[in-house]
Amino acid sequence: MADFGLLSAILWFPLLGIAAIIITNRSRPDTIKVIALITALIDFILSILLLYRFDFTNANFQFVEKIPWLDVINSFYFLGVDGISVLFVPLSTLVTLLCILISWYSIEEKVKEFYLALLFTNIAMVGVFLSLDLLLFYVFWEALLIPMYLIIGIWGGPRRIYSTIKFFLYTFFGSIFMLAAIIYLFLQFGTFDYTLLIGKTFTPQVEKLLFLGFLLAFAVKVPMWPFHTWLPDAHTEAPTAGSVILAGILIKLGGYGMVRFLLPLFPQATLFFAKLILVLSVIAIIYAGLACLWQDDLKRLIAYSSVSHMGFVTLGIFSLNPIGINGAILQMINHGIVTGALFMCVGVIYDRTHSRAINYYGGLATTFPLYAALFMIFTLASIGLPGTNGFVGEFLILQGAFMKDKAMVIFAATGVIIGAAYMLWLYQRVFFEKPVSGVFNLPPLRWNELLSLIPMVLLIFLIGLYPNPFLDFMKTSVSKILANIP
């Protein structure tokens, strides 16, 4: 196969950058930044190449690499992509690239460590999306904790330590149960190989327990409603890049995990629990939406809005029909782009004024017009205005959920309205009204900020106006996954 090794190249290429950064003297931060940027750029180009070569008529795993890793327990270094994961890989590399750009001036201390952590994050994120061996998956999944723990804890805001420890312990706690379930699966079937595990049958009792083990890990990451409390704290205190990674990729891992593992491996349990999860999703949508209304902190508001949006994603996934799942995957990518961009925007003004309080701002539209325009686009995309990508995703999800359960959709649609309310109200409070003293004479947008925001705008309109190519990638794989579910 001609493309053998492409996935490994994408996965491990940042190691070169890491090595180069390690040997660079820390007194030359600009060199470090340039190295990191070039590494991320090349990695992104490689992942675009992957997208280009990907054959979306084929529902099987492509670019498969399988090398024995731990013989004793029959575990493999097993990589592959299908329609579900292929879009996330370029998204991860893109987010890393943009994070490097957006932090160009805002990270001033411990520059070396910061870019090391970012590149390491990139490896772990891509690894999670690529690995088809459960143990390998778990290793990457947990390894992601280390750099995120550091990114939030070192470069974050005033209450960063509380948030980062909360983040670490919550996610660590969640994944422990997944580990137990993985070990059980291995002992039952003697393999960690995802492709071999599909279609195995269990007794209902066991299947439910295993499902819950996996679900807990994913639910903490997504985060679903009762487990969401780490997210606002972590988002609020993280540095801009950290928030963008959290919103853009990290919480997508949960949704990805659900589509990848829960549905195909435990179809019966999925059916059994689907109703419960739908209810939880709707609770998340409405609860988080309402919570947004009384936030006075910009980042916290956006963090709660992502809880709400991820509620849509789980709603879509557990509507268990192709439309809903396609919508959910697309919405995950949309949410990564839009919320990531919103966090970048907040980072932009935070760097200038060092305040995240909504009351602090007012009338930015007159003093900072270009920024206001960009923010408007992201706000509208977040609400889901037709023509932006948010509309496509939410529409598909609601349509899918309608086919599953009509009552849910009514509640979820309320969530859309609440979403419009809080985002527009936020926009009104920050950009209109009378300008306050703190927002005059803000320095204009820098090149790195423009460079990182423009691609997001382009993607929003690209997906919003012409979503078909993106949906084509996932269609066949999604229907294959659903084939198991009666």
Partner: protein
């Protein structure tokens, strides 16, 4: 009359150690130069690492046997000991008043004791070996008593614990002798295989495990560990928590295989509550420690608890995983104590965790290494700590101890907290403590890099090491059962 083999060839390595220990010890008075003792021990250890590959297998009387298992474990221990020597050299340069030769000499005696323990074929030799292993340590812990008052207290506590362990061990010896009339592993095993005396020997095993659990600092007998660790010089602490525990674990496994294999399931059941409590108490008490050494002491308590979990199922593969766990822990210990030796050179106050605040600014390299080791101790991939824990849990679930596995997993979340707290202090707090930036002595840098390399390598690709340990064990077991 049994003919006895007086095969001095198989005793060669031990004799070599003994003689070089005595030589290094005795010569100390007559040589002014301080570094000769280190170089001598350095070459002795390097030499014996080669030497051990050529030692013929065989018996010396019925008490002492060189076989594949003991030689492999000895080889691993020699590697560990080599690094302890390197650390000692770095650390002892802070104490020009000390007699280095005597220090290294006593270390050699302790290693000699460990080797005897590993090769012993009966319970009496095992006991004498254990004493020989511990007695030099009582003195070594107290090395710094001129400078630090606590060191005598630590030594005394360890001594009292050790003496209690001795008492319990002799009680066990009495029960075994009383019940079977023999003290040889194989004979005990034969009696057990005939289905006789299970109850009596199980009672003996309780005392045996109590005696060894004092050396391993398992829970009802863990009190001495933090004090002794804090009191002793840092290389000795590394020796205590890395090498000694590795060796004692190996011996426990050996006895379980050789003497107690018909009872291994019952013994496993005794070990379950002990190890769970050990993990729980070690993890909980580690939370409120402010001293790095004490933190690592409690963490070593908890880690041995995890390693013991590999023994509960009575499955031989689990024994291999326990040994693997201890091996990983050995190198994590060497790395973390190496880092502490470096920190102490910068400022003694660095052993208190709050003082570590913000050292990543000025000591970025050492902070990064500490980060790796702490994550390994917490069991986060891609470090070796995760792989070691993973295999233990795998074993537990495989042998249907699912409840135990879940409990241990839950406690491991608590156990992660102390380490991430230290990382928090290092990377996220602002610090004010003054210090100068010491250079990296070549040996310290070497051992740190090797330990880091091993911890990461075993986290990513543990297969060769695991294969080595498992094959050793299986070969040993199959030979053993062919004999019987």
């Amino acid at each position: 009359m049994v003919t006895l083999s007086l095969n001095f060839g198989s005793l060669a390595l031990e004799l070599f150690f003994l003689l070089s220990g005595i030589f290094i010890f005795m010569i100390d008075r007559f040589i002014k130069s301080k570094s000769y003792a280190f170089w001598l021990s350095f070459w002795v250890i390097l030499g014996s690492m080669v030497f051990i590959l050529f030692i013929p297998f065989g018996d010396f009387t019925r008490a002492f046997r060189i076989d594949f298992f003991s030689s492999s474990i000895k080889f691993l221990l020699l590697i560990g000991f080599f690094f302890v020597l390197l650390l000692s050299d770095t650390h002892l340069n802070n104490f020009p008043g000390l007699n280095f030769g005597e220090f290294y000499g006593l270390l050699f005696f302790s290693l000699f004791g460990i080797f005897v323990v590993l090769s012993s074929q009966d319970f009496l030799t095992l006991f004498i070996g254990l004493e020989l292993m511990s007695i030099p340590l009582y003195f070594l812990i107290a090395t710094q008593y001129v400078y630090r008052k606590e060191s005598l207290e630590g030594a005394l506590k360890y001594f009292i614990a050790g003496a209690l362990s001795g008492g319990l061990y002799i009680l066990f010896l009495g029960i075994v002798y009383y019940a079977t009339g023999t003290i040889y592993f194989e004979e005990v095993s034969k009696r057990l295989a005939q289905g006789l005396l299970k109850k009596e020997l199980l009672l003996g095993a309780v005392f045996f495990i109590s005696a060894l659990s004092i050396k391993l600092s398992l829970v009802p007998f863990h009190m001495w560990a933090p004090d002794a660790y804090e009191a002793s010089p840092l290389p000795i602490t590394a020796f205590l928590s890395g090498l000694i525990k590795f060796a004692v674990m190996a011996v426990l496994i050996k006895v379980l295989i050789l003497a107690y294999s018909p009872l291994k399931i019952e013994i496993g059941k005794i070990l379950i509550p002990i190890s769970l409590l050990t993990i729980l108490i070690g993890s909980l008490l580690a939370i409120r420690q402010d001293n790095l050494v004490r933190l690592l002491a409690y963490s070593s308590i908890a880690h041995v608890g995890y390693a013991v979990l590999g023994l509960v199922s009575g499955d031989f593969a689990g024994y291999g995983f326990s040994l693997f766990y201890m091996f990983v822990y050995l190198f994590t210990t060497i790395g973390s104590f190496g880092i502490m030796i470096y920190l102490v050179r910068a400022n003694r106050g660095f052993l208190e965790i709050p003082n570590l605040a913000g050292i990543c600014q000025n000591l970025p390299f050492i902070s990064l290494l500490l980060l790796i080791f702490l994550f390994s101790l917490a069991g986060v991939p891609p470090t070796a700590g995760f792989m070691a824990k993973f295999y233990i849990f795998l074993m537990l679930v495989k042998s249907q101890y699912i409840g135990v596995a879940i409990l241990a997993l839950l406690v491991s979340v608590i156990g992660a907290y102390p380490y991430i707290r230290v990382i928090k202090v290092i990377y996220m707090d602002k610090g004010h403590l003054g210090y100068y930036k010491p250079t990296y002595p070549i040996f310290l840098a070497f051992s740190l890099i090797v330990a880091t390399f091993i911890v990461i390598l075993l986290g990513i690709y543990p297969r060769p090491m695991l294969d080595f340990i498992q094959r050793t064990l299986f070969l040993y077991i199959s030979l053993q059962f062919l004999q019987l």
